[in-house]
Symmetry: D2
C-alpha cells in the first residue's frame, strides 16, 4: 500500500520518533571501548536519572521492556519466592507469566481491567503476611492495555503503613516521561521502562532503576543470571563502559531524546500530556463511547482505551482507519481483543497531531458505520483551545 | 522556541518534505562527471517529462523558481521585446518586475487578484496586435498569492483562435504535481517550476520545460545569457552531464520524490489534491470567512487564500498559530499583506494532516478572538469522509 | 577531541556501518503489530537464512551477542548439564563464564589462545564419554580476541566419527558474512551471531539459527527461560510478528544490509575478505611483527591480531593512533591485554580502506617508536594489486 | 556496479561531505519567512564572513559557482566594459567565456597552465592603461584544473603600486577554507566561491563577498540583472530573509559545516591542508611523475594535478581506479584532457584518507601498467608521520 503524508503512529508505543532522534541515531557507530563512548555513557546516565527522579543507578539493557522485567526478577529473587502482582490488564499478566516461567510463586490479585491496583487490598495482604514471605509487589503504573494508571503514592503509603519489607517493582513503560514519576520519593525498588514510548526512541533499549535495597537483595538471590546481571553493568558504567557490546546507535537516539525533554522542560512535558489526555477523553465522551478506565483519579494521560459499541469489532475499525487515513491505533489486548481500541497520545506529540488523530477516529467511526455522535473533535478543540499553550522559550 | 511534535508547514511551499526524500538527499555526494551521475540524470529527466506531460526537454537549474523565470526570458527574447503578463497576484508582478529589469516591455493586463487570466481579454489583445509585436504571453497557472488557478485550456484556445505566434510562458510552480498540467497538450512554450511544492523536494532546483518553438526563438534572442543558457545544458544532458556542477544531493531528493509520485500514481495524486481543496474550502465557508478566489471554476486545489474579517490582522493570527500550535501558514503577499492568510495543502499530504491543519486554524481563530462560526473542521470532515479513499495498492 | 574526515573504525566489530544502512535505520518507526511490519519480518528471515546457509529458523533477539549465547543455553539445557567448551581466547572464556553462571558444568579444554579447537581432542573426549553426559560442544568459529578460526568441517567430522549425540553450538559472531559459514552442512545445532560485524548493522540484534535437534532438546530443558524462549518467537514469526516489541529500526538496518550483501553476492563478499586477510597478514610480516595465530590453516580473514614487541604496550600505540590518525584498533582482551592489538578488516570494507588502515598502523608504529621494518603497506599493496577485483556488475 | 566500503571522492570538488553535514541537511524544511529561518540566516552570514576574513557582506545564491561568477559581472559592469583575465587554466577560461557571453571585452593574459597570474605582468598592464579603461582584474586563486595557486598578496601589491582603480575579482572556489584567504586584507572586491569544496557542503550554493567599491560600481552598471542582483539580497539579509526562496536545506548543511570548521579551528584546517599537499607531492615525486605546477611557491594545498607519462591516457587510469578501487579522481580539463589526472585532498579529509587515496593511485598505476617507481605511498607516510598532529582539543 502506498500512502501520502505522515503516518500517524497512534498506538501507545512505539510512539512517533522525532526526526531529530532518527537523525541522531544515524551517526556512524563508534568503538564501544573508546573515550568517546565513555563520554556518551557518562552523559546519558545522569540524564536518565533526572527523568526517573532518582539518584539510584539506571541500568540500560539492549533489549525490549520484557528484558527489564526479567532483569528485575533474576537480580533480586530466588526460585520459589513469593510475589504479589496486581491484575490490571495484559501487562500485569505479562509480569505474572514471566515470574512463573522463572519459577516464582505469584499471588495474582484479581482485578476487572478497569481499575488500578488497590491500596487497601495491598495493605491487607501485606498485613496478613506476618512471616514476610512476600518478597516483592509488582504494580504496572500505567496499564497500557487499558489506560488505567495506578495511584503509586497511595500504594506506597499502604506499604509503609504495613511496615512490610517487600520490594516494590513498578512498570513505568508507558508512563515515564509523560506522567509524573518519582522513583526515589515513592521508594520504588526497581522501576522498569523501555525506550519506545515517552522517551521517544525506537524500541531496543530497556531500563531498570535499581534501589540500594534491590541491589542488596541480589546478594542472596539464587535465580541464575548472566545477561541480566546488573552488578557488572553498574560497576563498568562508572567509567562509561559495559560488559558486553551496547546498542550504540540507540544510545545516540536516547541522548538526543533526553536533550529534547530537557529543552522542553519536564514540567511542560507532563502538562502537555495532561492537556492531551483531557482532550482525548472529551472527544470519547462526546462520541458517546465508553472509556475503559472507570475512575477519573486513574485516567491515563499517555493513552486512552475505548470500548466499541456492542456488535462492532475494534479490529475492523482499526484496519479501515489504517487503510483510509494512514493511522495506526492500538489493538485490544488479551481478553479485550476486538472489544477495545487504544489511542496513543504520548511522546513526541502536539495539539494538531492530536486533532488529526481524533479526526481520524471520528471519520473512521463514520466510514465504518459505528454508531456514535458527531462532535468529538469539537469537544477536544474546546478542551485544547481553552488552555492553548505557547511554545516554551528555551 | 521549543515545540513538541511535527511542525505543520502549511505555507503553499516549500511544502512538507517526505522523510524518504530527506533521507535520499542525505546520500554522499558523488562525482558529477562519473558514470553513476550520468545514470542519475538519465533517470531523472524522463521522469520529469512524465510529470510535465511533455516530450520536450526539461532543463534543471540549480536555483530558485525565479531562476527559471529569468531563464525563460533570456533564452528566448531580446531587449525591448514586448510581452503580455496577466495581473493575477504577487507572482504575476514578480514576472513583470523581472521582465522589466531585463529590459523587456511589459503589457501588464490589470486584474483584481481574485480572478485568473481572462481568455477573452487575451484574444482581443492578440487580435489587436496585427504586427505581432507581442513575443510572449505570461500566465501564472496557480497564483500562489491568491489561490486562483487560471484556466489554461481556455487561454490556449484563445491564442489559437487569434492565430498569433506569441509564445506561451506558464508559471506552474504551485500547480505541477498537484493539479492537472499538460505542457504538450496546451502547447506551452516554457513551463517554469521549482522543486519545493508539489514535487515535495526542498527548495534549490528550478525547471524549464522548453518547446521546440522556444528553442528556435533562442537563435535570434539578444538578451545576454550565460548561466541560464539552456542550449549547452540540453546538449550535455543527452549523455547525462551538465556544463557546470549540478546540485547533486537535490537530484537524489528529486529522484526519490518522482518515484513516490509514480508509486501513488499521478491520477491519484491529482484526485487527492482535489479532495483536499474541496474540504479546505468547505471549512472556510463554514467558518463564515471569505475565499480570495471568486470563481469556482478557478479554485486552486493546492492552497486556499482566505480574507480576514475587517479589523483583524492576518499576521497576528499567523504568529499566534505558530506559537501555540506549531503550524506555519502563508502570509498575505504585496497588497494582500495582513489581509489574507494562506493555507497550503499540497505535496506530501493526507486527510489527517489536513484535518490537523484546519483544527489549527479553527482553534487559532478562537484563541485570537477572530469572529467566525464553529464547524469548519466538521464541514471538512463531512467532505473528506464522504469520499475517503483507501491506500493505493502498489 | 575534534577530527576531520572519516573515523576508521577498525576494531573487529562493531564495524563501519554503511551509510545506506544508517539511513535505512532512520526511517520512522512503525506499528509492530501492523501489516507493514509483518512484511518486513517475512522478508528478513529468509534473507538471514541464506546468510547462515540454513533452512532452520533464525531467531532474532533485541540484544547483544551475549543474549544469543544465553539463549542457546537456556533453550536446550538443564541445570548441572555438562558441556565442552574449547579454550580459544576471551570469547571462549565468555561462553564458559555464562554457562557457569547459569549452573552448567563446563569441561574447558585448555588452549594457548593461538590455535583453534582441536578435532582430535574433541574426538577423544567424546569417545571417552560413553554415557553421553556431554550435552553440547561449544566452538567459537572465529575467536575475535586472537584472529584464529577453528576448522569447523574437521570438528564436525570428529563428532561424526565419535557418533556422539552432543549438540554443536557455534559462535559465528565475527565470522558470519565474512568467512564461509554453513549451518546446515556442518550440522550445527545453534549458531550464534550478532548484528554488528559482518552483517554491517549497528549493535543491538542477536541471532540464533536453531536446528531441529536443538528445538527438540528444549522439551526437556529445565533452565528457566522467558525472554530468551525461542519457541514463542518461532511460532509468531510464521505470521511476521514477535511476542514482545522488536527493535524495529534495527530491522530496517538489517534488511538494507542483507540487501547489500545480496547485491555484492555472498561469494564475492567472502573473496573480498580473503583478499584483505592476506594483505593484512602480508603487512604484519613485512613489519617483522608476530601474528597471534600460529597455524596458517586457521587464519582469520575478518581480523588480524598482532603481538607488540617485548617492552611495548599495545594500548599506548592504540591511543596514539586514535589521537593522531583518527582510527580505532581493537584492544588485547583478558590475558592479552596490552600485549596485542587487533585490526578489524570485516564488514563494509574495501581495498583503500584497508590501505588507509595499514598506513595508520605503520605510521603509528613509527610515531610511537615501536621497532618495526618499513614496508608493510607496500607488501599489502603488492598483495592487493595482484588480485585487484573490479566492481561487481549488478 | 556495486562496491563495498566508502567511495573515495578524490576529485577536487565536490568533496567528501561529512556525515554530520548530510544529516543536518536532512532536517525538515521550514518556512523561509518565519522567525526560525531568520535566525538561521543571521547565524550563517557572520560565520561565512569569518571564513572569508571579511567584514563585507557575503551574498548567498542558490546556484553553482558559475552563478557567482555571473553575479560578480552583472552587478558591477556594463556592456562593453574591459576586464583583464589571467589565463591560468580551464577555470580562467570559464571566467573569460562568461564575460564574453555577457558582452564584456576581455584581455586574456596568456599563460602556460603551469604558473599562476604574474604580478609583474599585471603591473605593466595596469600601468599601460592610463585611461583606466580596465574595470576589473580576474584572478583564479587556486586553478582547479592545474593545482596552481596564484600569489594574491603579490598581485594586490602590484595593483597598489600601479595605483589603478580596477576592481579585483577572485575565484576562491577551490581555495577557501583550505588555503589562507583574506578578502579584506587583500582588498578583493568580489570573492566568488561555491559550497562544494573546502566548505564541505553539497553543491548548490554560490557565494560572493562584496566590497563597498563593488557595490558602488553597481550604481552605474548597465548589465541587466534580476536573479543575481545583490542589492535586494543584502537589504533583506539584514533581517534574515531573502527576496526569493532560498535553498533552506543547503543552509542547514552550511551551518553545520561552518560549525565544524570552527570546532577544528581555521588555523588547524589550513595547516592540515598544507600537510596533505606536501605529502601528496612527495608521493608524486617518488613515483617519478611530473606535477603540473612548476613553481613551488604556487603549489596548491587543496589538490594536485599530475601529468601522465607520454603514451598513457589519464582517463583509462581513472576508469580503472574507479572500477577496481572505488575512487574517483579528477579528469584533465580542456587542453589537459587525457593528459592529466587530479587528486583532490581538500575538505573533510585526514591522513588515512590521503594514505588510502595515494595507495589507490599507486595500485592503479601498477594495475594499469603505467610506468612509475614504487614508493610514493612510503614517501607520503614519511612526510605525514614527521608532522603527525593529534586531534584538537575542543
Amino acid at each position: 500500500m502506498t500512502h501520502s503524508g505522515w503516518h500517524f503512529l497512534q498506538i501507545p508505543g512505539p510512539t512517533n520518533v522525532p526526526d531529530r532522534v532518527l537523525r541522531a541515531m544515524a551517526r556512524p557507530t563508534i568503538d564501544h571501548r573508546g573515550p568517546e563512548f565513555a563520554a556518551l555513557t557518562l552523559d546519558l546516565i545522569p540524564a536518565l536519572q533526572r527523568v526517573f527522579n532518582t539518584k539510584d543507578p539506571v541500568v540500560i539493557y539492549p533489549g525490549s521492556g520484557s528484558a527489564a522485567i526479567e532483569a528485575a526478577y533474576v537480580n533480586t529473587l530466588s526460585p520459589g519466592d513469593r510475589i504479589v502482582v496486581f491484575e490490571t490488564g495484559a501487562f500485569s499478566l505479562h509480569w505474572k507469566n514471566i515470574a512463573e516461567k522463572l519459577g516464582l510463586r505469584v499471588d495474582y490479585v484479581p482485578g476487572n481491567w478497569r481499575r488500578g491496583a488497590s491500596d487497601s487490598e495491598l495493605e491487607s495482604r501485606l498485613n496478613a503476611d506476618a512471616s514476610h514471605e512476600i518478597k516483592a509487589v509488582v504494580v504496572v503504573h500505567n496499564e497500557t492495555s487499558t489506560g488505567v494508571a495506578s495511584r503509586l503514592p497511595d500504594l506506597r503509603k499502604a506499604m509503609d503503613r504495613a511496615r512490610h519489607p517487600a520490594m516494590l517493582f513498578v512498570d513505568a513503560v508507558s508512563s515515564l516521561a509523560s506522567m509524573p514519576y518519582r522513583h526515589d520519593e515513592w521508594a520504588v525498588d526497581v522501576t522498569v521502562c523501555g525506550s519506545q514510548k515517552g522517551l521517544m526512541v525506537p524500541p531496543g533499549l530497556a531500563f531498570c532503576a535499581v534501589s540500594q535495597k534491590a541491589r542488596a537483595a541480589g546478594k542472596d538471590a539464587k535465580l541464575p543470571r548472566a545477561y541480566f546481571d546488573w552488578n557488572d553493568i553498574i560497576t563498568q558504567n562508572a567509567k562509561g563502559f559495559f560488559p558486553y557490546t551496547p546498542a550504540t546507535n540507540l544510545f545516540y537516539a536516547l541522548r538526543e531524546a533526553l536533550q529534547m525533554l530537557e529543552e522542553e522542560g519536564m514540567d511542560n512535558v507532563i502538562r502537555r500530556h495532561a492537556r492531551h489526555g483531557d482532550a482525548a477523553r472529551a472527544a470519547v465522551r462526546a462520541w458517546g463511547l465508553e472509556l475503559v478506565c472507570e475512575d477519573p483519579r486513574e485516567y491515563s494521560n499517555s493513552m486512552t482505551a475505548v470500548f466499541m459499541p456492542e456488535g462492532h469489532n475494534a479490529d475492523n475499525l482499526r484496519a479501515l482507519i489504517l487503510q483510509h487515513f494512514n493511522m495506526s491505533l492500538g489493538i485490544g489486548l488479551a481478553k479485550l481483543s476486538g472489544k477495545v481500541f487504544r489511542i496513543g497520545h504520548l511522546g513526541h506529540f502536539n495539539d494538531l497531531m492530536l486533532a488529526g488523530t481524533l479526526c481520524g477516529v471520528e471519520m473512521g467511526l463514520r466510514v465504518a458505520g459505528v454508531p456514535h455522535k458527531e462532535g468529538g473533535v469539537l469537544a477536544a478543540m474546546n478542551s485544547l483551545a481553552q488552555v492553548a499553550e505557547p511554545a516554551q522559550a528555551r
